[in-house]
């Protein structure tokens, strides 16, 4: 199979390239030979970039196949321009053994829609007590360990994880949340929670753990990754630690970058997420942190939930929003279009940086001859309405009803067109 992506604006943050060019794809790789005999795909008006990489996806399989499967989730990812996702460990059973990791790997291979890097739990059954077999799991292909959904409450356990994982160059990803402060909370603690009568989650709940974990990363020299930063204080803590040379990376979700707590005034459970969407000041600090590189990556925290679970009373609905199919468009609409970050920085945060954190060498560019052809192309000006159905099995999107700018047209995984003209192939 050989085809020419013709006339796109190639934006390749890994090489710093931004120019109009044709890109040849041949035998699964970016080619540099003759385009003779290649079919042409007209990419006029499109931006061609490395395939996106998501550090934080909940594929729900095994266990909650009614919400999402590896197949439906990776198809949703491809439709959103992703060529790799990192699948979180809080499945049922928990991904704390090689058996579960291998099952996810096998399912992903069969689905073939995008690469899946399964995350393993840090502690057995996410209980925060005893470490999983980090060495064996790392040898089985796990690059990231996370108890996401739960925070490792005992400092000593996290210290051991950070220290032990150094032998395997693994990254420890923390869902930062001090449990006793967050218990029972429904949204960000502030003026709006006080008016809505919803129990608040104070920013300090996250910041206490971020501060603690940064100290432990400094102590151990282990690789810490902080999941879904939500508060201005957390951004400041990470910024300071990076200046001191602590080995830390951080991610932020599109919904924390685009929404604020006031948006919850109608008790829309699709906006109930964990950590909660916080104040205008917090959102602004997250945007600034992404712009200046304090926050390395944008990650979706794609969290599918069944309609009947979300169509409940607010305090009974589970937290989470789906995000794979809207991530790029939200970043383009809410950050690039208003000039808060450049297009190049957006694509870096959505592909190069997460690929580096995951050590996913085949992803994130550069788009150079001989490299695996993991690419995506999008129309930066196309407007579309976010509405069901989605490729995801679920439809709990915090962005339902919003018109976004920027639509993924083609997604190419190792030279194969997974998405063509905005549609999943087969």
């Amino acid at each position: 199979m050989k085809f020419l992506l013709k006339g796109a604006r190639v934006v390749d943050p890994a090489s710093g390239r931004d120019e109009s060019a044709d890109v040849l794809v041949e035998d699964g790789l970016v080619g540099d030979g003759s385009a003779a005999g290649a079919s042409e795909i007209d990419c006029g008006g499109l931006v061609l970039a490395p395939g996106l990489v998501d550090l934080h996806t909940h594929l729900r399989e095994p266990g909650r196949e009614d919400k999402e499967t590896v197949e439906s989730g990776t198809r949703a990812a491809a439709l959103g321009g992703f060529t790799a996702v990192s699948a979180m460990a809080n499945t049922d059973p928990v991904a704390d053994s090689l058996a579960v990791i291998q099952e996810v790997q096998l399912l992903a291979e069969r689905a073939g829609a995008c690469d899946v890097f399964p995350v393993a739990a840090i502690t057995k059954a996410l209980e925060g007590e005893s470490l999983v077999e980090i060495g064996e799991l790392a040898a089985g292909g796990v690059r990231m360990f996370s108890d996401d959904g739960h925070c490792v409450q005992q400092a000593r356990v996290l210290r051991m994880a950070l220290e032990y994982s150094k032998a395997f160059d693994a990254v420890i990803a923390e869902h930062a949340e001090e449990a006793s402060l967050a218990e029972g909370s429904q949204m960000h603690e502030g003026y709006h929670s006080s008016v809505l009568g919803l129990a608040g989650n104070p920013a300090a709940s996250e910041e206490i753990i971020v501060a603690r974990d940064l100290m432990l990363a400094k102590l151990t020299g282990g690789r810490l990754h902080v999941c879904h930063l939500s508060s201005a204080g957390s951004v400041n803590l990470v910024r300071r630690a990076k200046a001191e040379g602590v080995s830390v990376t951080a991610e932020v979700t599109p919904h924390h970058l685009a929404l604020v707590d006031e948006d919850l005034s109608g008790y829309d459970t699709n906006l109930k997420v964990n950590p909660p969407i916080r104040s205008v000041e917090d959102r602004d600090a997250l945007q600034a942190g992404l712009a200046d590189g304090t926050i390395d990556a944008v990650a979706t925290d794609h969290a599918p939930h069944a309609v009947e679970d979300k169509e409940q009373e607010f305090d009974q609905a589970p937290p989470g929003t789906i995000g794979l199919e809207t991530a790029l468009a939200v970043i383009l609409t809410d950050l690039v279009k208003p000039g808060l970050i450049s297009l190049e920085r957006a694509l870096e945060a959505l592909s190069v940086a997460p690929a580096r954190i995951l050590r996913a060498e085949d992803h994130g560019g550069p788009i150079e001859p001989g490299r695996p052809a993991n690419l995506m192309a999008f129309d930066p000006d196309a407007e579309w309405l976010v509405e069901a159905p989605f490729a995801s099995k679920s439809r709990n999107s915090a962005f339902l009803g919003r018109t976004l700018t920027g639509k993924v047209m083609h997604t190419i995984l190792r030279g194969e067109l997974i998405v063509h003209e905005g549609k999943l192939q087969a």
Binding site: Y267, F314, D315
Partner: protein, 309 residues
């Protein structure tokens, strides 16, 4: 008039005045031998109560019956809800049976909003979690206006567990809207830090504000708050924030003592204080029926089908 009553913040000053004026005309119905008018004949009102309640449910039931509406009482225990039926399905079922209005009491904040998304009839919030209790606030405004002749410019003090009180929210928002001064008093752990943005002053010293208060409104404090460390002991709470005889003596003579019930006698209010003539707690209950009649009448378009009273 509004279609749903979910929060007092939906109501303008004019709306509140109209509701209270209409209640005034219904108040007289309750004094008749035949306590009934035909205004809502043929309409169906469902009381959907997910939480136990005596006064609010009976008050709504009497209000609807005095307007000649058909009333269905639906409580969560012993119903399809205890079989796991969702709020949505319960709502759709009740609507399919022709409910014109659903009065909902629920332990989850926002439950009335959620219900309003599922049905086409009117929703009246009869207390949702720690969010609001709009009809309680309106009956309190009615009682204050009746006793003191006005609301604007009055100095009101609301004392206790503001954090977890739906009454405190509805009352603070609506008193502020009507031009009264509101001061919230309680331990800092039970007053949301953002309460000053509600349009209220905050103090932790009850004795400081009593001498100038026109209305002293005591909130119920649940003993379980002490177990969650909101205050060190019921004894200390009662000494710092309870309305004792001595504290009543510090109030101006004309000041009203109010409580939404049910009272914890001996905790937030001394037993003999609750029974003083300044205490209007039973009048609040009586006025509740007239105010709820007024709301049902205005919201269900009763004006089109008959005379008010």
């Amino acid at each position: 008039m509004i279609k749903h009553l979910l929060s007092v913040n939906q109501l303008s000053r004019e709306d509140v005045t109209r509701i209270l004026d209409t209640a005034e005309s219904f108040r007289e119905v309750g004094t008749r031998v035949i306590k009934k008018v035909p205004a809502l004949r043929g309409r169906t009102v469902v009381n959907l109560f997910y939480e136990n309640s005596t006064r609010t449910r009976i008050s709504f039931e009497l209000a609807a019956k005095r307007l000649s509406a058909d009333v269905i009482n639906f409580t969560a225990s012993g119903s399809s809800v205890s079989k796991g039926e969702s709020l949505k399905d319960t709502a759709l079922t009740l609507e399919a049976m022709g409910a014109d209005a659903i009065v909902i009491r629920h332990s989850s904040s926002g439950a009335a909003h959620t219900l309003a998304r599922f049905i086409s009839g009117s929703v009246l919030n009869a207390g949702d979690g720690t969010h609001e209790h709009p009809t309680q606030a309106l009956l309190d405004l009615y009682t204050i206006r009746e006793k003191l002749g006005r609301i604007e410019g009055l100095r009101t003090v609301i004392v206790g567990d503001v954090m977890h009180s739906r009454v405190a929210r509805s009352l603070t928002f609506s008193l502020a809207r009507m031009g009264a001064e509101v001061t919230l008093v309680g331990p800092p752990t039970l007053i949301p830090p953002d309460a000053p943005s509600w349009g209220a002053a905050v103090t932790y010293d009850l004795d400081e504000v009593l001498p100038k208060a026109d209305v002293c409104y005591m909130l119920r404090v649940q003993r379980e708050r002490q177990r969650r460390q909101y205050f060190p002991s019921v004894r200390e709470y009662s000494r710092l924030f309870g309305l004792s005889r001595d504290r009543v003596a510090a109030l101006p003579e004309h000041a009203m003592i109010m409580h939404p019930g049910p009272m914890n006698r001996g905790v937030e209010i001394a037993s003999d204080v609750a029974d003083l003539p300044q205490s209007v707690i039973t009048e609040q209950v009586t006025n509740g029926i007239a105010v709820r009649m007024s709301l049902l009448y205005l919201m269900l378009g009763g004006a089109a089908s008959g005379e008010a009273a």
